[in-house]
Symmetry: C2
Subunit: 194 residues, 2 copies
């Protein structure tokens, strides 16, 4: 039986974006199943008392350099979003709504690219609408999906599950009960899969 990689993520986190660029290949290399767990990082922060490294000025400055080093190592584009932090509530409801459908990956790709490559201000609903339309989505349809109470409840449930399992930030990955925080632990994830 193939091992599972549970990926608790929020599109507003640059570390999550970096991990997302690498995980599909890691899953393939190890014949592992990638289990997507869209959560709300803001909810995790609130429940655990944690906060973004960017709230400490010196730490925020350093993490930008540090994330860039990983982007270079992975050979992927990463641009610091000047509108950071992005309120990802609606965006993660969208991820929750498309989860399990064939639109899930195109949706994530559009959102991650808009935030972490194209530096779009995804706090603005009209920018989100434009990004989604450009990626072939019908923004009105997406708005209808994400206002579904079941979608809201599902995002809350995954966020609560994350907190119960010890998550305090994004991305957090579980492999067979072992927890790994950050794109910088993907090597350990691979060891756990081996």
């Amino acid at each position: 039986m193939s091992k599972k990689i549970e990926f608790f993520f929020d599109v507003g986190s640059p570390a999550t974006y970096l991990a997302w660029t690498q995980l599909p290949a890691i899953a393939e290399r190890h014949h592992a199943e990638l289990v997507w767990k869209p959560m709300l990082l803001g909810g995790v922060f609130q429940a655990t008392g944690n906060s973004s490294p960017a709230t400490i000025e010196a730490k925020g400055r350093y993490t930008r350099v540090d994330f860039q080093r990983y982007a270079n190592r992975y050979g992927v584009p990463l641009n610091h979003n000047p509108h950071f932090p992005i309120n990802t509530l609606q965006l993660m409801r969208g991820a929750t709504a498309f989860h399990g459908t064939e639109k899930f990956q195109p949706y994530l790709t559009a959102i991650f690219k808009a935030i972490w490559q194209d530096e779009r201000d995804m706090n603005q609903p009209e920018v989100v609408g434009e990004v989604l339309a450009n990626a072939g989505f019908d923004p009105t349809e997406v708005m209808a999906l994400i206002s579904n109470p079941a979608v809201k409840e599902q995002l809350k449930a995954v966020t609560e599950e994350a907190v119960e399992r010890g998550v305090f930030g994004a991305p957090t990955i579980f492999v067979e009960g072992e927890m790994f925080f950050g794109q910088d632990r993907l090597e350990f994830v691979e060891q756990a899969l081996a």
Copy 2:
């Protein structure tokens, strides 16, 4: 000319202990000069608004597992100190006093071992005295050295230098103007030295 590795450290940090077990070999491999920068992590936290990951319960739990993974990878002993956090003011004044003398490495070895291998309560002056005596130091002599105002000032100066250069935690390493935070960035340190 050989490159410099500037190592800003505080003995109370498990990540610093882990980096300390690896850095001499890294310096040797790359014919680099290891420049020791004893600082007071508490002073850095105060100046930057940062705090130990252990202040967030879920993060503290995870980092203990995470540090153990690095200890296993390095093949070095690491035991969580039940008396953590240790007030390291006197201990780092000691490191400052011995800096540049032949007693510096024996002193660091005794202190790191007491905290991160033997789980000693280094908040207690009598325990510190015992640890130092067992390592061949005269505790009364050490006490005299660390009450020297010049030593106190020197520790303050290095701590201020750290903060000015962007340090927000321990250990922090500089190689040719590039800053690296944590034992988990030693690979990048080696790249910068190569």
